[in-house]
Symmetry: D2
Subunit: 276 residues, 4 copies
């Protein structure tokens, strides 16, 4: 059991009435308990708290009049160790995959598994099935891509990345997800906070469904999976943008942090902090 | 209230043990009541009936050993007229869209609304908002595309179609959906049966979310919306394939029919029938 | 007859032995006479001067050892007015197009005229043929794109631009060229200097082949065609990059200028100058 | 020295006056001498014989009124063995590549070497340079693609093929060309006839420029390079289509043949013949 302090601060210049959809609050799951949480809007706003979709993602919707808007989110989260990672975990036969998981075999906006299936089979068809095959995919992605901020955009897809061989965390995750789905392994995108991520920022990683459970992988290897705190889950980055806005507002600054705390040292003074 | 007889017959040559996921049975919704239904597999199979996803799509999963497999589906469906189509139906403000509908604003595999937003605004930004704007989009798609069987494949996207200007029903729907989402109007894909469709086949159309309700549109104008019987709903065609299979099987024939019946004439002898 | 002073200065940090191919010197054509020209490399280099391709583009090849390399190019060019632009100039029948011009009907890397032909016919099929049709294409491109530096990259194509509706000079030219070719009008890319371009930079524009001659068009409308001084001609930007390098060197600064001079005022003190 | 009989017969239904550009006659090069040649149009036509481009491609232009047009081409060609293939042939340093060859380093419509450069370096950067590196590229293409007629279209590019891993001769050539260019090796597309090709058809292959000469490669390995008879050379398939037509005509049948003849047996009775 680990205790982790996470948080983020976003400052927007809102120029006319704007509808914001935020996904920055951590999720409540079997493996992740929110011990305490504060979520403040300055100036104060009327915030609608929603739980959406099959995966129960949290979403805050707020309509903001022109102002300088500062959002601050803080949480202390208790992570129960996930099922122990073991190389002998098997892939689920598609005949046994729970029906609600089947949707994570479909191609999605940034994960064109329908295009990459042949490549996946050629490269990973002979790798022993199960946890180690997903691990082999993540290793391959990690080895063959260069982590290059600025080399991709918000519309870059897994197929683009497979060709150009550069990207950032979301691109690594998209490619790994696509290769899994191409092999018949359900896979999904997870946004979150990551302890000791350098530079600190929101992170994107993935989960593969194996033998009845979802297993976390970070193809960038920039963070340890035991330090990953989930915000939201989706088919790909299209579903879990930290903020979606309709109107006219500009992000002026963004600060994100995540520190492994302890019972005696819950203060976040030592956390890694970025300002983008 | 209309009564419609629909059905389909699929014949597969199954060469080795194959897992099939079928989406050919009609959905049960507020506007669509299944009066009677038969669903037969020959040879008989152990069929798992699932209801999946937020939209409650029905899905039949079956593992089939080598054989010639014949699936026949028949249903009589009672359609309650949808909310009357009216040009003065308004668009929902994004601040009011129910949270579970928000997902239908996201781009998806075949509907790259993130790429087509500027085009959508340029072409439809000045059209009065609401039902008539969606109608204008469907009219535009209908006018600017040529319905050309064989001109697209299962991986063709809305952006491809906007450039090449040809496609079939799924392509028409994908483009209309993308343009709606690009304008902030939630939109989704619907697969179904369509009365008097020529040539008879499974059909693909769309729904837009306006003023609190989903409204049906068929951008191909090949069928009247009052003769559309829903099978499944999804983000795009990736979610509602009539059959997905893992193993080795070949579709040998496919026959689809849909006829407006009446209380006294429920026999399907007059139905349009295709054999592909 | 106009006299124009043009020039550019490029500074590179060369980190290891690098082969440069430069295309920054103006071309010698029927309509463009080089009155004087200086081309200096500091430190001095062994420069190979080539004339390449069907269009007689000039190219300087030089192998540079590690250093800070400064290239300065200056020329005074006398432009003889091109054939007078007239709306009644006709398109050449493909049966009469000179055989060496036929190549400019083929699709090329950034001009996928094979993809955009249907769009071109739909949008411009009814426009009276000839000069005014090319003008209509350029007007359309100018109206429907937003000139947005940074919105495209060196691999952006005409099809991308037609969808996203933003770009810079090369994107405008690529789209106009593609639409011309799609209609059977030979068209090619021209790089050059442009009087009074704001901000000053190398410019990209296009030529269409009509009634036996090449006619200049600038779809960006950022410069007058009578102030366009040609450097090189090609199928698209792939053929006329101002510098191509193999090795390891970084462009530290680039300054470009072009001023309409006069017999009494050949000094370039008033020229618009940019430093990028 | 080998003597080869090649030929083709094309039959078109011409519905209205149509301009044809044919590239089916073999080229005259240092390594390829046309011993005899017949080229007939039935009904007879006024044929314009052109030699176009840097590579001296032959092109026949003809304007045909409505009719059933039958074109028959026959040639006996004497091939002088190309420079002996040797694994120790070196790559040309870009500083020494003749200036007119430089154009074959540029990306082109179906060969996006600008997108595939990183992949090329990653996969072939460590392979010893020279003939054997091009051979390694062709071997890789041959091993990793499935030759699947119908799996690609006339607009499929090298990047598409690298992802989908299927294609036909033109796709194999496009991918190999792109990878060569990505590594700085000039490469171009060659269309031609191929002895013993099964099924008989026009063939597409490639040339790489090494140590001052162009070397032939057939990445499909469907024909021996010593049995390849050149028709035309270009950047990619866009430049060498066997027929381009403007008007309204439909290809009704196409027959292609190529046989290694001998002094005593110049008849073509044993040639492989296809009718498509």
């Amino acid at each position: 059991m680990t205790k982790i302090d996470v948080g983020s601060e976003l400052i927007y210049e809102v120029r006319r009435s704007t509808v914001f959809l935020f996904k920055i609050a951590v999720g409540q799951t079997n493996h992740q308990r929110i011990e305490q949480e504060t979520y403040t809007f300055d100036p104060m706003q009327n915030v609608e708290d929603c739980v959406v979709g099959l995966d129960g993602n949290r979403l805050q919707r707020v309509v903001v009049d022109p102002c300088t808007l500062k959002i601050q989110y803080n949480a202390t989260v208790e992570l129960t160790p996930d099922i122990e990672m073991q190389l002998d975990v098997q892939e689920s036969n598609i005949a046994q995959v729970p029906s609600d998981v089947l949707t994570y075999l479909n191609p999605s906006r940034y994960c064109e598994s329908d295009l990459l299936g042949r490549f996946a089979f050629e490269e990973f068809g002979q790798v022993p099935r199960g946890f180690q095959r997903v691990q082999a995919i993540c290793d391959w992605v990690n080895t063959h891509l260069d982590y290059t901020p600025g080399s991709t955009t918000s519309t870059t897809t897994a197929a683009d990345v497979l060709l150009q061989r550069t990207g950032v965390c979301r691109d690594y995750a998209h490619l790994a997800i696509s290769l899994c789905r191409g092999l018949g392994i359900p896979a999904r995108y997870v946004s979150g906070y990551a302890v000791d991520l350098q530079p600190p920022d929101f992170h994107g990683f993935m989960e593969a469904f194996l033998d009845g459970n979802w297993y976390l992988f970070d193809p960038t290897k920039l963070a340890e999976t035991k330090g990953l705190v989930r915000i939201a889950t989706g088919r790909d980055a299209a579903d879990v943008a930290f903020a979606t806005l309709t109107g006219d507002a500009v992000l002026k600054s963004s600060t994100v942090w995540a520190t492994a705390g302890s019972i005696n040292d819950a203060n976040q003074g030592n956390s890694a902090v970025s300002t983008a």
